[in-house]
């Protein structure tokens, strides 16, 4: 399958590499087609990797993965011809983190709204699925690096889109994936970040995730 991965940071690179490893074709999108990080990634990724603008990557992908920094996620998507998002699954991986005040980052949107909802609202013809935003990117693409089972969440308005994303996540190695419902539930998973960041500080490592424990 063809993926457009928007974002050249560590999350974008890690996801793009995993998708190529799984046999998919990936165009990594960035603000400029000449982005050096994207070009360096292509050089390593081989024949199935390429680079372009956000717009070119979105056009290329049958599925679009939005994994720029949360604060610029909408801005990046706005540079795309919205017809190139219409009908497509858009996996929203980003969190709306704002570290501008120093200390533990806060959320730039939360509680009554979320980044996932913001994207779906602005691109109503896209089939937005919020996923993978509750763990570090190394865990995203290799859940077995942690000891024991742990959980992931998806939400979105389109049931078939969620099924498709869930199948991809199973290819990544995820076993326990909870469908929380429509895209408003992105408020729940994005608001996990304030605790996630504190645990990151406590452990001095991003190598952890949450497991939901229930009655026996």
């Amino acid at each position: 399958m063809k993926f457009g991965v928007l974002g050249t940071g560590v999350v974008g690179q890690t996801l793009a590499t995993k998708l190529v490893q799984l046999g998919h074709e990936v165009m990594m999108g960035s603000r400029s087609a000449a982005n050096e990080k994207a070009r360096a990634w292509v050089a390593k990724a081989g024949a199935k990797g390429r680079a372009g603008t956000f717009g070119a990557a979105a056009k290329f992908g049958e599925v679009v993965v939005s994994c720029t920094e949360g604060k610029v996620a909408l801005e990046a998507l706005r540079t795309v011809d919205r017809r190139d998002l219409a009908g497509k699954v858009v996996i929203d991986v980003s969190n709306p983190l704002d570290g501008s005040r120093g200390g533990v980052p806060v959320l730039s949107v939360c509680n009554h709204d979320s980044l996932g909802e913001s994207i779906q609202r602005e691109f109503p013809d896209a089939r937005v699925v919020k996923a993978l935003n509750t763990c570090n990117c190394d865990v995203m693409v290799d859940p077995s690096r942690l000891k024991g089972d742990h959980d992931l969440f998806v939400c979105g308005n389109d049931a078939k889109a969620k099924e498709q994303v869930t199948a991809l996540l199973r290819d990544f190695g995820w076993k326990s994936i909870h469908d929380l419902g429509d895209i408003t539930n992105a408020r729940g998973t994005e608001q996990l970040l304030p605790l996630w960041m504190r645990l990151y500080g406590l452990f001095q490592s991003p190598d952890f995730n949450f497991r939901i424990v229930r009655k026996g």
Copy 2:
């Protein structure tokens, strides 16, 4: 030890009963000394249980447990003579949930502030420890009812107060307790509630908790 438990709801009743079972003396506090739920609880609790106003319970307790509904927690504490909180450990169990708009409750304070911080700010001489707010009250007092290990969080500005609360939590049966740092970290644990409530809706049961899974 003597505990003042502020709140007659299911959380207050469950915690008060557990404390009595552990051999502590408990006064359950409510707006009115004649509160019927508190009186019914006393009738069941036996010689170690009693009831009174919020003020009387706070005066009685060597440790005060604030477990009224989050939206009235500050209001309840304001009825207490603040000298009766000075120097005491105040365990803040409540979450600032606001269900007034229908749907999944939102938080009445979050992101840049928290209920835990609000209480500490308003009662600077109290030694506030945020704890137990991330799970259902049946799980709070009996973590073994869930299958396998799972985690709890404490935070607060006073290290000795956190040690004392952690020891009490161990008496409740908790094994894995993370000290997140000062009271501002209540933002992290309170903001877990939007996800908790969605999982509660999904499972149709409050019998679950989070386990932090790390590298082997």
